[in-house]
């Protein structure tokens, strides 16, 4: 076996480290550690001079492991790995020891114990470095084609965008018509645009792209594979199923409006939903004079605590249309909070007030009572009960997850939240990604959204997806889990069930059911390795041996 020769570089980071820790002592101490054959203190290891120093030391001293004790791997691990590679070393023989953010900055007032802690950290780094193994990056080809599930405004927009970029796109819609929820809408805000026109323009544009393949009355029945290499089984109505390869998948399965059975005497005739009203306004069939709209019908309650985000604007918009079509009509909107966030929404609220739409606030514990010909409501602001005659009551019901989201979730191994909307990778910073690489979400499948927001998200999801499609291959750090002991694997499937990235599949082999880890989809989190009670899984670059060695020297000089 090759002799292990470790070089330890202690960075001063100007005064960021050296201002608090005794770096000279750290370098001296490092020399005493096993297999350390070279040490150096740098003012800035990351500077041009520092990096050159590391490269020269590797060559001149035949180093085969390098440790830099410095700021943080978050910013500088790539720099030092590249330096090692340039000097002919495998970059995974590099070990970072964080003595700035884990030490000098954290213990600014205690320089002596902090220096001691830095020694412990370096000792641990050396223990691990001795056991490091060379690794090669994992590369997989990306099929330059996209599968879009759902043909509403979000799915259409994502399809158009990727098709315009020249990628092969397959749009799968389970009903016989594209357009989703927008099909039933009249005009949309802001801008008084016809919903039908906007949808049909989108659909028409798609027909211009030979690389956009639109399939209606079709279901995706199975998906296997991983980023760059998904294989979907697509079942068109009454036709032979198709198996096709896709690099990425966008989930745009949309949402539906709650049918409020049992709420406020809903009957679908005199007491209807906002969606129903839209379709009546669209055909000009709504002639009613006295309209009472009730907000939060089925939302912001104990059963469904969320706010559906769009219903206030929907009601206000309908109110405006009714008043425009018939200025003598009386429209009352009974609300809890008017959720007109932003600029345009506040503007339409003002417009509605100017046109004479009346707003009455009620509280959750005193909901309106729908009687035969009138609605009784306790007006919170006036402090008295009102009785309002009606010809029509219109209920603003929330958007709820579409039927079948569970099966999509299961098929793609992507999670749903507690309300069964799809759960993104990060609520703030990655709103349209899933934790699983190569699968994205947009539109109301993610959460109730306006049309503008759905378009933004669809373009956003397409942008995210196009990163993989453009690169044509996906490269992954080899810090992944590996099934090292196939015989030990009992095929229990625990590892697959805990994997947050859907990167483990259970496969039938000649030795029975075994775990198959798709390295390119793995993020190296280690959950599977920790779960496997047969110790059949090993974490590359973070092996049990490496970690145990670190822990044992941590408490034992």
């Amino acid at each position: 076996m090759e002799e292990i020769r470790i070089g330890v570089f202690v960075c001063n980071c100007g005064s960021n480290i050296a201002g608090f820790l005794d770096c000279k002592e750290l370098a001296e101490y490092s020399k005493t550690l096993p297999d350390v054959t070279f040490t150096r203190e740098n003012l800035f290891s990351c500077s041009e001079a520092g990096v050159t120093d590391i490269k020269n030391a590797i060559i001149e001293n035949k180093l085969n492991r390098v440790i830099v004790a410095a700021c943080t791997p978050r910013t500088h691990e790539p720099t030092f790995r590249a330096a090692c590679q340039d000097a002919g070393m495998n970059p995974f023989f590099f070990e970072f020891v964080n003595i700035r953010e884990h030490c000098s900055w954290a213990h600014k007032n205690e320089p002596e114990p902090a220096t001691q802690k830095a020694k412990d950290l370096i000792r641990m780094g050396v223990a691990r470095a001795r056991l490091l193994e060379p690794q090669e990056s994992i590369v997989a080809k990306v099929e330059p084609s996209a599968l879009i599930i759902g043909g509403g405004i979000a799915g259409l927009t994502a399809t158009q965008s990727l098709a315009a970029r020249g990628f092969e796109v397959t749009l799968v819609e389970r009903t016989n018509q594209l357009g989703g929820l927008m099909k039933g809408l009249y005009q949309i805000f802001p801008g008084d645009i016809s919903a039908e026109q906007l949808t049909s323009e989108k659909i028409e544009t798609l027909s211009k792209y030979p690389n956009a393949n639109v399939m209606t009355e079709t279901n995706v029945v199975d998906v296997a594979g991983y980023v760059g290499n998904y294989v979907a089984t697509i079942q068109p109505n009454k036709k032979q199923e198709i198996k096709k390869k896709f690099g990425i998948i966008i989930v745009a399965t949309g949402t539906r409006s709650l049918i409020p059975d049992g709420l406020y005497k809903y009957d679908g005739k005199k007491i209807i939903t906002q969606m129903h009203l839209e379709s009546l306004l669209k055909t000009g069939k709504f002639k009613t004079k006295n309209v009472v709209m009730i907000q939060c019908a089925g939302s912001r309650n104990s059963e469904r605590i969320y706010c559906s985000r769009i219903c206030c604007m929907t009601a206000i918009k309908s109110g405006i249309f009714i008043k425009q079509q018939n200025p003598d009509a009386k429209v009352f909107i009974l609300y809890r909070d008017l959720m007109c966030h932003g600029v345009e929404n506040e503007e339409i609220l003002r417009r509605a007030k100017e046109l004479g739409v009346r707003f009455v606030k009620f509280s959750e514990d005193q909901p309106p009572q729908v009687e035969e010909n009138s609605v009784k409501v306790f007006n919170d602001v006036l402090g008295r009960e009102m009785e309002i005659d009606y010809d029509s009551v219109v209920l603003a019901t929330p958007l709820i997850p579409n039927e079948g989201v569970e099966s999509v979730s299961k098929m793609l191994k992507v999670p749903l939240d507690e309300y069964k909307f799809f759960l993104e990778a990060h609520i703030k910073l990655r709103p349209n990604d899933f934790a699983t690489d190569g699968i994205y979400v947009c539109g109301t499948a993610h959460w109730p959204a306006t049309i503008t927001e759905s378009i933004h998200q669809a373009l956003g999801a397409a942008a995210r997806a196009s990163i993989h499609l453009t690169r044509e291959e996906v490269e992954v750090e080899p810090i992944v889990s590996m099934l090292v002991d196939e015989d030990a694997c009992r095929g229990c499937g625990l590892c697959a069930s805990v994997c947050p990235y859907g990167s483990i599949e259970m496969v039938q082999t000649s030795k029975g059911i075994k775990a198959n880890i798709v390295a390119v989809a793995c993020k190296g989190c280690g959950t599977c390795g920790a779960t496997c009670y047969k110790h059949a899984i090993k974490m590359n670059h973070f092996t049990n041996e490496q970690l145990t060695a670190q822990i044992s020297v941590a408490f034992n000089e």
Binding site: S161, I193, C307, V343, D380, I455, H456, A463
Partner: protein, 374 residues
């Protein structure tokens, strides 16, 4: 920020401004003024040795909302990208009088360069994305709230700095008047927002940040009291209602529906809030130790000048006009927009919009490349 800073394809020109834009979609030439930092960006690594002995000490720190002072050589904030120092030419003694030069002697890397000049760069680009964000409304004209006169009436952003561990008080919620811990805090919503005299729209993000601020306050001082005075309580995003309920049930935040009419002060400089609780229809007052104004968010300063340079239309409120059917597009082909510059938006909305604008720009750039090679 770090990811962008590290990306090999990204060239960050911070401390720079667009002077003009010529050409059209696929072929723009942008003239950019890269302002002199008097520090060589390639050498400086923000170690901070230069500022230790800088004798100019009392310049209000913009990032800390003027609650702390900085020196004439400074880093805008400690996690800033690019991580480099800047010398403020309006306050540096050497740049003004040719004497001092202490920072130069302290910098072992030799990064200080008093001779540095503004650079004018010409960039050939296929597409432009405007993401100039927002500025907050200065509540001084709303004299009924006493901001600027009463020390313990502060803005939401000032509160954010006070509660932040890297902020001027090390994360302790100390009252500006006497440095005492504030245990009873009121958050006043719609300050300048939804106001016919100022910003006649809803700023969208304040209801949620007030809840967040109140929660943070409670986490720092578990026995403190908090009150949020709101009109419509607009918590409409993903899981926001749940958050609102959690604020009330787990953190004991008091939500009061009513617009604060007036703030006065008692002899201990405690703000007294006068309001009508519109749910009980009573006029009341509440003594607190600190009042936090959730000020309106507005189009960023200078955005109208920028719009003129780019030829981009603005809405009446000064936001970049971008709407259906292409909500990422401006009136100028090849110029796209995202984030608060097109109107109030929270973080996930801004991120989605940013990806969308990047997508539209990519269509231009990639298709342009294709045409060139064809």
């Amino acid at each position: 920020m770090l990811d962008v800073g590290r990306h090999p394809n990204v060239n960050i020109l911070a401390y720079s401004e667009v002077e003009s834009l010529k050409g059209d979609i696929g072929n723009f030439t942008a003239t950019v003024r890269k302002k002199a930092r008097y520090v060589d960006e390639d050498i400086c690594n923000a170690c901070g040795d230069c500022l230790v002995k800088c004798p100019v000490k009392k310049i209000p720190d913009d990032f800390d909302m003027g609650l702390k002072n900085r020196k004439a050589v400074y880093q805008y904030f400690s996690q800033g990208i690019p991580a480099v120092m800047t010398i403020d030419p309006d306050n540096c003694i050497y740049l003004k009088k040719g004497k001092c030069g202490v920072c130069k002697t302290k910098c072992v890397k030799g990064a200080i360069d008093y001779e540095q000049k503004d650079k004018i760069l010409e960039l050939d680009v296929g597409a432009v994305i405007v993401a100039t964000g927002l500025d907050v409304f200065d509540p001084t004209p709303l004299t009924q709230y006493g901001y600027g006169k009463m020390k313990n009436v502060i803005t939401g952003l000032e509160y954010e700095r006070l509660i932040n561990a890297t902020g001027p008080t090390g994360g302790n919620l100390l009252r500006p008047s006497d440095g005492e811990m504030a245990h009873k805090v009121a958050y006043v919503q719609c300050v300048g927002s939804r106001d016919f005299n100022y910003c006649n729209y809803c700023s969208s993000v304040c209801c949620m940040y007030a809840i967040k601020d109140a929660m943070l306050g409670r986490e720092h001082e578990p026995d403190s009291e908090s009150y949020i005075f709101h009109t419509d309580f607009r918590n409409v995003g993903k899981w926001f209602q749940k958050y609102e309920i959690r604020g009330k049930e787990e953190y004991g935040i008091n939500y009061i529906r009513g617009r604060v009419a007036d703030i006065t002060e008692d002899e201990n400089q405690n703000p007294i809030l006068w309001y009508e609780d519109t749910e009980t229809r009573e006029v009341k007052s509440l003594n607190v130790e600190m009042a936090v104004l959730s000020t309106a968010a507005m189009a960023a300063k200078g955005s109208s000048e920028l719009a003129k340079k780019l030829g981009v239309n603005l809405s009446e409120h000064g936001f970049v006009a971008a709407g259906l059917p292409y909500p990422s597009d401006t009136n100028v082909p090849g110029i796209f927009a995202c984030g608060f510059c097109i109107g109030p938006a929270d973080i996930p909305e801004s991120v989605a919009q940013a990806s969308a604008a990047a997508n539209r720009a990519a269509e231009v750039v990639f298709l342009g490349e294709k045409k060139k090679t064809a």
